[in-house]
């Protein structure tokens, strides 16, 4: 797959680095779009070069889902991915966990003067590959350039639209006592992979980010189990944040079993050393799902049969008591409350 990305022929530009003129709206902007972005994204809608993408009519009956997200991750290239991949997957996943079929994305780039254009080409190529994997078209885009020192290499904002088929309504307030909570794989890989690159903290790990698009997984899950109440991707705030939101919005309690939460040894070790709770560490390619108890085993089997959720696990139960509270049954059998992060623990993780 990576060979494909790097073999993509990007015609030479007149510059090696982003200059202010690339954001001027003039000739250099056109050159950047025509020689770098258009070949990279290969979108017929984008190639029309209008001020807007005019989308074909959507199938009748469904509802349109619409979401937006900004990406400022530092560093922009990290073990297992880069900011471009993250920007596509993040927005695709926000649509997918709502039960939507992701269709179109926009991307707005804020580039810092001096960014190597090779880096931008790498990011664009990985965005295209991420779009291909998720089956979405990047159909409208914008570029601005800020002076050196006024940004940090590049920031990307993506928005996405998708279609929620008729009759489907997932919601964080839909959990009911008795429901089961499943996660699609080990948590915290993304956060710890990013942390391992941070200045003053570099530690050696083979860990890579878990960033991946989840639309094919959610489609398979919803096909097998239309009764899924709710799905969320535990990004900032981690699994703890998602489950605390769920408990509050649904007016239920959540019992989480510590020993059942999948965790790679490298993530666990890093969290021990750094004093982090893995339940607070972000993922970028995982989801948590709440499902009626009678569907839980079938859904778990469907997830484990899917390449994006081989290590899925049943981690907890929705209960009527302790409304609004997530209670963790620890490895030694005692119980404690899981609380959301009080402040910012890991800045610029996505």
């Amino acid at each position: 797959v990576t060979d494909l990305v790097f073999d993509c022929p990007v015609p030479r530009l007149d510059h090696d680095h982003v200059v202010l003129g690339h954001g001027s709206g003039g000739r250099l902007t056109t050159q950047l779009i025509q020689r770098l972005f258009l070949p990279a994204f290969a979108s017929p809608l984008l190639a029309r070069m209008e001020d807007q993408a005019v989308l074909p009519p959507l199938p009748a009956g469904g509802r349109v889902a619409f979401t937006t997200d900004s990406f400022v991750v530092s560093p922009p290239f990290f073990p297992g991915g880069d900011i471009g991949q993250l920007a596509v997957n993040g927005t695709v996943n926000d649509l997918a966990v709502g039960g939507a079929v992701p269709l179109y994305l926009s991307a707005a780039f804020v580039l810092e003067e001096g960014l190597p254009l090779d880096d931008l080409a790498r990011v664009a190529a990985s965005m295209r590959e991420a779009c291909r994997q998720a089956g979405v078209e990047l159909c409208t885009a914008d570029t601005k350039v800020v002076s050196r020192g006024k940004g940090d290499r590049l920031f990307i904002t993506t928005s996405g639209v998708g279609l929620v088929p008729e009759g489907r309504a997932l919601s964080i307030s839909a959990a009911r006592p008795g429901d089961r909570v499943l996660v699609s794989g080990p948590i915290g890989d993304h956060g710890i992979a990013i942390l391992s690159t941070r200045e003053g903290l570099e530690f050696e790990t083979e860990l890579v980010s878990d960033t991946q698009p989840l639309a094919d997984l959610t489609a398979a899950m919803l096909q097998a189990c239309p009764g899924i109440r709710c799905m969320r991707d535990p990004t900032r705030g981690g699994l703890a944040g998602v489950l605390c939101d769920l408990a509050a919005a649904s007016g239920v309690g959540v019992r989480l079993v510590e020993a059942a939460v999948p965790l790679r040894p490298a993530v666990r070790a890093a969290c021990e050393l750094l004093g982090l709770d893995p339940l607070h560490v972000p993922c970028e390619g995982r989801l948590a799902a709440v499902v009626p108890a009678e569907d839980a085993d079938r859904l778990l089997a469907v997830m484990r049969a899917h390449p994006r959720a081989r290590e899925a696990a049943l981690v907890g139960t929705v209960v009527a008591e302790d409304r609004g509270v997530v209670v963790l049954e620890s490895v030694i059998g005692s119980a404690r409350v899981v609380t959301p992060l009080p402040g910012e623990q890991l800045p610029r993780i996505c």
Partner: protein, 369 residues
């Protein structure tokens, strides 16, 4: 993960809890000294495994909690001084002084950086020759050797743009203070495991001999803590008082002599104010005459002593006189986002541990947040 799973083993924990229950014949009150021990106890709900009448009080071993307000104000004044880069461990950034905190100062333009070792701050001084780099050195005998090594290197290399704001403290004088406090109920200590990796056991042998109170040097995992409790109540039941080393997998009886040589090279024992507890004699480590040129305190004027908010009972919590939910402000007017005092603001503080891990009803409040 090796050295972790065997100390978080449910069966071992239950067996130890059963042995504790079989050992005690009357009520006892113990104090765990370290904030890290408090957090494990609360996080794993170990209190629920103990027989009724066996009480654990939370001790003063939280370095952020005991750093006096005027020292925090001094760090803030340093951070606000043009040309200064203030380096700190991350958990100090949110701690409010009397006017502000380091995160707010950073948002207003101060150069405040998180480092994971004082050596990183010294390296930064090398890359910023026209700036004054200050490391805010807090902590017990555990973190003091790294500060000492950094100070010794800075002096030997003749680095002139590096300073230290030192607020290091020693555990034993605080334990004496707890024992001598009016109304003290502590009958035995779970001693500071990581401090003793440096200091060894001799200081605690002296304490035991003088005060006739058992000390079990204890680790930080559930099985460690339960074993520490068992060793303490065994002594209490037999009327003994000795130093027992539960944490022998890390603590050598002689500690770490190389680290202690560094401490002796750079620091001298001094009196030091503790937040909520007042000035404790011989409780601090300050730069000695040979290293006083590194003292960052000279860069800003002396700070006036500051009174704690009258509502905050952290001084009593730190001395084991009150438990966090007994404070009327706990979880209501005092939360981790709006802390009134030290034991709520530090992630190692006892109030923060209760707020983070206990059910709302056990925290004594009506709403979760």
């Amino acid at each position: 993960v090796k050295f972790l799973d065997e100390y978080r083993d449910a069966r071992a924990a239950r067996q130890l809890a059963a042995r504790i229950a079989a050992t005690v014949t009357r009520p006892w009150t113990l104090m765990e000294v370290c904030g890290g021990q408090t957090h494990s106890l609360v996080k794993y709900g170990l209190g629920d495994l103990l027989p009724p009448g066996l009480e654990l009080l939370h001790g003063p071993g939280c370095p952020v909690c005991v750093t006096p307000l005027e020292t925090i104000d001094r760090a803030h004044a340093l951070a606000a001084t043009p040309g200064v880069v203030l380096c700190s461990f991350g958990d100090m950034l949110r701690v409010p002084g009397s006017h502000t905190d380091l995160l707010r100062l950073r948002a207003r333009g101060a150069d405040v950086r998180i480092v994971y070792s004082p050596l990183d701050a010294l390296a930064l001084a090398g890359t910023l020759p026209d700036r004054q780099v200050v490391f805010f050195a807090v902590g017990f005998e555990t973190t003091a050797p790294a500060t000492a090594m950094t100070a010794a290197l800075a002096r030997r290399r003749g680095i002139t743009n590096f300073r230290l704001l030192v607020s290091h403290v020693r555990v034993p004088p605080a334990l004496v203070h707890v024992l001598q406090a009016p109304g003290n109920r502590v009958q035995a200590f779970l001693g500071p495991g990581h401090v003793c990796t440096v200091m060894g056991l001799s200081e605690y042998t002296a304490l035991v001999d003088h005060h006739r109170v058992p000390v079990v040097i204890t680790g930080f995992e559930p099985v460690d803590l339960l074993e520490g409790i068992l060793r303490a109540v065994e002594q209490l039941e037999r009327g003994q008082a000795t130093v027992v080393n539960q944490y022998a997998r890390l603590v050598a009886p002689d500690g770490n002599p190389a680290a202690r040589r560094l401490l002796a090279e750079v620091f001298e024992v001094c009196d030091r104010p503790w937040r909520g507890m007042g000035v404790l004699p011989a409780s601090g480590l300050g730069l000695n005459a040979a290293h006083r040129g590194l003292d960052a305190a000279q860069l800003v004027p002396d700070m006036p002593p500051v009174a704690e908010p009258p509502e905050c009972l952290s001084g009593e919590v730190l001395r084991g006189l009150r438990r966090p939910p007994e404070c009327p402000a706990f979880g209501k007017r005092c939360t981790p986002l709006h802390p009134l005092g030290a034991t709520m603001v530090s992630s190692e503080g006892a109030c923060a541990a209760y707020f983070q891990y206990k059910r709302p009803e056990a925290r004594g409040e009506e709403e979760a947040l």
